[in-house]
């Protein structure tokens, strides 16, 4: 079946937006796509789903209020919570290719970098 990269990209975008992948889509991918197309589709799907996934890292397990706040901020995305004590305080959010750092560890790293530059 002749499918351009653009078509595969659009297909991946739509599949990633669905909460459940239907059996017809699974069948289509298994039966109609060539090996090369399937590889390309997986690449697009992985990228699209990571763009829709939000990873929140905090030093302690977040409270319900914090979780609600994040859910409201990212209504369309699935949120994963990770506990990373090394952050000290604050949080780190990763969504798509953006990383937001607001934690003590990063602040200390920046201070060290600045001091190294000035020394």
């Amino acid at each position: 079946m002749r499918l351009t990269d653009d078509t595969l990209r659009q297909l991946a975008r739509r599949v990633a937006a669905e909460p459940d992948i239907s059996a017809s889509v699974q069948r289509f991918v298994d039966e109609k796509l060539t090996r090369q197309q399937r590889k390309q589709f997986v690449f697009f799907l992985r990228r699209e789903s990571s763009a829709r996934r939000v990873c929140v890292r905090t030093p302690d397990a977040p409270s319900d209020a914090v979780r609600t706040s994040f859910r409201q901020s990212f209504p369309q995305s699935s949120i994963v919570y990770e506990t990373v004590p090394a952050l000290g305080a604050g949080f780190q959010i990763e969504y798509g290719d953006t990383l937001v750092n607001a934690n003590v560890r990063r602040m200390l790293e920046r201070t060290i970098e600045e001091l190294k530059e000035n020394l």
């Binding site: 697009f44 953006t98 003590v104």
Partner: protein, 506 residues
């Protein structure tokens, strides 16, 4: 800074710090090899932006595709692994320049190569910058003396000019700029000290070490910076090396100083760019070079300029070097650079092998703007030099077909041989202004015509030494560069005649 101040500085930072959110655009290395990495993510990356990998290695965004970002690696690719995170820095690649760089040997990423500590301070100058505009420039009118008679007389170079040095391998291409650097320690006629930047691209480390040692021996490192991307460095470093050298030069140029930048050589630079372009799967054109290879070199060489008074009055002179294959000047890269530059010095392997050094082919070498930068004295004596040589070459070729030549032809051939002898010059043996003028004058005025060809060199050397000591006042008058009066010419002729009588060479 003492320990107390240091502690205070850290404490201040810790106690006053607020955790401000920092947003980073990041990606993941998908594949890596041959000095190029491909990363997904990095949706905010800009063309030419510097990126940083997890292990602090640096790269440069070179291609922005729909699904990938291609990055050229400024560090060896073995340090980068698949799956590694890479982040944008929001910075374009640049060099931190101050006068501290003078006398140093660095790579394009400003790591010291001379074994001494290098503390970077000063102004951050981006590698890529637009060339000065038309109104910011002045015509080239100040000479940049090479100390080589053949060049200063026939293809003079002016400050702010771009003069190509072209020739096959082993024809003395590098020797010319090295002599030029050494000659800059002569501060003649109150001209400003020229800061020299020698940019070695794809050369052997041993060659660079030899050049550094020679410059140090001659005391020329006091005003020289060497930027080296050697043959073993990644192609990306070789690609950015001339831009780094140019950015350093611009820093001094914009502060009113005169700068000479030598790109040794742009053939290897073109190879490095071709390698990167092919690895990035950019469409290949003639000789597999990418379509923008002309623009690559033109935007680099356009940055050479003599600036107006309002812009500081500095200058940046560029001496690019190109290596030809089998004397083929009509290859792609040589023709490109010839059309960009303001002239070329063509070195011929036949001349070199015949012992004529510097092996400059007077017929194919030209300086399109340097004439206006030549001193009046040199212009006065060198005016007929090119014609004499052209006639000599033609007659010499003609004389090979027959033995019966009239006296005039024979005289011209004999004169030509002596002129050629006078233009010979040993490496690291640069001449001052006055010596150049006197030598060229003696040859073109026929004052060496009855001296055996093999003795011309020795005679010239002794004559100059004699005139320098016995006719100091006249020597000084010629050194001013002003047009020589009838009186000076007569005095010079008499002095040479007088010396001939007492010369031990004859």
């Amino acid at each position: 800074m003492n320990a107390e101040d240091f502690i205070k500085q850290i404490e201040e930072k810790l106690y006053t710090a607020t955790i401000a959110p920092e947003m980073i655009n990041q990606g993941t290395v998908d594949s890596v090899g041959d000095g190029v990495a491909r990363a997904t993510g990095l949706s905010q990356a800009g063309f030419g932006e510097e990126v940083e990998f997890d292990n602090k290695a640096r790269g440069l965004v070179f291609n922005l595709d729909e699904d990938y970002v291609s990055i050229i690696l400024l560090s060896p690719s073995t340090e980068i692994k698949e799956g590694m995170k890479v982040r944008t820095t929001g910075k374009v690649l640049g060099v931190t320049v101050s006068r501290d760089l003078i006398g140093r040997v660095i790579d394009p990423l400003q790591n010291a190569l001379d074994g001494r500590d290098l503390k970077l301070s000063g102004e951050l100058c981006p590698l890529e910058r637009p060339a000065p505009g038309v109104v910011d420039r002045l015509p080239v009118d100040t000479p940049l003396k090479t100390g080589l008679k053949a060049i200063d007389a026939m293809t003079p170079i002016g400050r702010g000019q771009r003069e190509l040095i072209i020739g096959d391998r082993n024809t003395g291409k590098t020797a010319i700029p090295i002599d030029t650097i050494i000659n800059q320690k002569r501060l003649e006629r109150g001209l400003k000290q020229v800061i020299c930047i020698y940019c070695a691209i794809g050369q052997k480390r041993s060659n660079i070490a030899k050049i550094v040692a020679k410059l140090e021996e001659e005391g020329a490192m006091a005003y020289t910076i060497i930027v080296a991307a050697t043959a073993s460095d990644p192609a990306a470093q070789q690609y950015i090396a001339p831009f780094a050298a140019c950015a350093i030069g611009e820093y001094f140029r914009d502060r009113g100083e005169d700068v000479l930048v030598i790109y040794d050589d742009l053939t290897k630079h073109a190879w490095a760019y071709r390698q990167l372009s092919l690895l990035l799967k950019r469409p290949a054109g003639r000789e597999a070079y990418p379509g923008d290879i002309f623009y690559l070199h033109s935007r680099l060489l356009e940055r050479a300029a003599r600036m107006s008074k309002e812009r500081g009055g500095g200058s940046l002179t560029a001496l690019p070097i190109i290596e030809t294959q089998a004397n083929d000047m009509s290859a792609y890269i040589p023709t490109n650079i010839i059309s960009i530059t303001d002239g070329q010095i063509y070195l011929e392997s036949d001349l070199f092998n015949a012992g004529f050094k510097p092996a400059i082919n007077a017929g194919l070498s030209v300086s399109r703007v340097g004439g206006s930068a030549q001193t009046r004295a040199m212009k006065q004596v060198a005016g007929i030099l090119r014609i004499e040589l052209a006639q000599f070459r033609e007659l010499q070729a003609f004389s090979q077909f027959g033995s019966d030549l009239d006296d005039d032809t024979l005289n011209r051939i004999e004169r030509g041989k002596r002129v050629m002898e006078v233009l010979k010059q040993l490496q690291y043996n640069t001449f001052d202004d006055a010596s150049e003028v006197i030598s060229v004058f003696a040859a073109t005025a026929g004052m060496l015509d009855d001296i055996p060809v093999e003795k011309v060199g020795t005679f010239e050397e002794e004559m100059l030494a004699h005139l320098r000591h016995s006719h100091t006042e006249m020597f000084g008058r010629i050194a001013t560069g002003a047009k020589m009066s009838e009186e000076t010419i007569n005095e010079l002729q008499n002095a040479i005649r007088e010396f001939r009588k007492q010369s031990v060479t004859l």
